[in-house]
C-alpha cells in the first residue's frame, strides 16, 4: 500500500527520515516546478532554482506544517514566497516577455497549437491574475486555498480569476 503524504511527513518528523522527504519531493516536484515556470514565464533554470529553494525551506520548516491544509497547498505557499522574494530582488514583478515554450513534454490529449496558444495567452496575463488562474484552474486549488497561498482576500482571488479567465477567452478567440 502506498504511503500517504501524512505518513511520509510523520516519518520525517519522528525520525528525520530523509528518504521519506525524498518521496515527498518526487511526488510534488512536477506541480511545484510547473507553478514556478508559469510564475517566471517559463524561465526554466530560474524556476528550478526556486523549486529547489522551496523544498529546502519546506524541509527546514516541516515542523511548522500543522496539517490544516494539503501538503501541496503548503508547498505552493512556500514556492510563491520564494518567487516573490526573488522577484523583489530582481525588480521584475512587472513586464511581459514572449513565452518560450518547451514542446518535448506535450501531453497527447491537447493539440500542440492550442497548448502553445493557451500558454502564450496565460503568459500575457498580469502576475496576480496569472497566479490565481494557474493555482485554481490549472492546479485545482479551491479559491480559499489560493487565498491562503497568496495571502490575499478571498474576494481578490475570485476577481483575479474572473478577469484572468475573460482575458484568456478573448485572447484565444481572437
Amino acid at each position: 500500500m502506498e504511503l500517504t503524504d501524512a505518513d511520509l511527513i510523520a516519518r520525517v518528523l519522528a525520525n528525520d527520515d530523509q528518504h521519506a522527504f525524498g518521496e515527498l519531493v518526487r511526488r510534488h516536484q512536477s506541480s511545484v516546478r510547473g507553478l514556478l515556470r508559469q510564475l517566471t514565464r517559463t524561465d526554466i533554470a530560474l524556476a528550478d532554482d526556486l523549486a529547489q529553494e522551496t523544498f529546502l525551506r519546506a524541509y527546514k520548516s516541516i515542523r511548522s506544517f500543522r496539517g490544516e491544509a494539503r501538503f501541496s497547498t503548503w508547498l505552493y505557499r512556500i514556492a510563491y514566497n520564494c518567487f516573490r522574494e526573488d522577484a523583489r530582488k530582481r525588480k521584475e514583478l512587472v513586464g511581459v516577455d514572449e513565452a518560450q515554450l518547451q514542446a518535448e513534454h506535450d501531453p497527447q490529449t491537447v493539440d500542440p497549437g492550442l497548448r502553445h496558444d493557451l500558454m502564450h495567452a496565460l503568459n500575457l496575463l498580469p502576475l496576480n491574475e496569472r497566479t490565481a488562474v494557474v493555482l485554481c484552474c490549472q492546479n485545482g486549488l479551491s479559491h480559499d486555498e489560493a487565498a491562503r497561498v497568496l495571502d490575499i482576500p478571498l474576494g481578490t482571488v475570485k476577481t483575479n480569476i474572473l478577469r484572468g479567465r475573460e482575458k484568456l477567452k478573448r485572447t484565444l478567440a481572437a
Binding site: 530523509q18 518526487r26 512536477s30 529546502l56 491537447v110 493557451l118
Partner: protein
C-alpha cells in the same frame, strides 16, 4: 475569429496543457542540499527530562520546609480504598490531558471530530 469557450472547457484545457515535468535528477539535487540529519539520541533526551524532574522535585521538597513530608505521613494514614480512589482520579486527569494533547497533534483525528484548536 474563434468562438468564446466556456469556463469549464477553458479550465479543462488549462489542466491538460500543463505538462508533467520529469524528475531528471531534480529530487537528487534537492536531497544533496538538505542539511545532515542531526538528532540527539532518544535516551539522552529521556535522561535529561528525568534529571530535570528529579532536580525539580528535590528543590520543591527542600523549599517546602517539611510540608510535603507531613502531607505524605497524613496520606499514609488514610484507608487503602481512599488511596486507590485518589490514584485512579489522578490517572483520569493525566489521561484526559494526554488525550487532548494527542488530538491536537493528530490532524486526521482533528478533522474527524471537526474541532477547532
Amino acid at each position: 475569429m474563434n468562438p468564446m469557450i466556456d469556463d469549464e472547457t477553458l479550465d479543462r484545457q488549462l489542466r491538460e496543457a500543463a505538462p508533467y515535468i520529469d524528475d531528471e535528477g531534480f529530487t537528487a539535487r534537492v536531497m544533496a542540499t538538505l542539511p545532515a540529519a542531526q538528532r540527539e539520541p532518544r535516551w539522552l533526551r529521556a535522561m535529561v527530562l528525568l534529571g530535570l524532574a528529579i532536580l525539580g522535585s528535590g528543590i520543591a521538597y527542600v523549599l517546602s520546609g517539611g510540608f510535603i513530608r507531613e502531607g505524605v505521613i497524613q496520606l499514609s494514614n488514610f484507608p487503602i480504598w481512599l488511596l486507590l480512589v485518589f490514584a485512579f482520579g489522578c490517572g483520569l486527569v493525566v489521561g484526559a490531558f494526554a488525550v487532548i494533547f494527542a488530538i491536537r497533534k493528530t490532524p486526521e483525528v482533528r478533522d474527524l471530530t471537526r474541532l477547532e484548536f
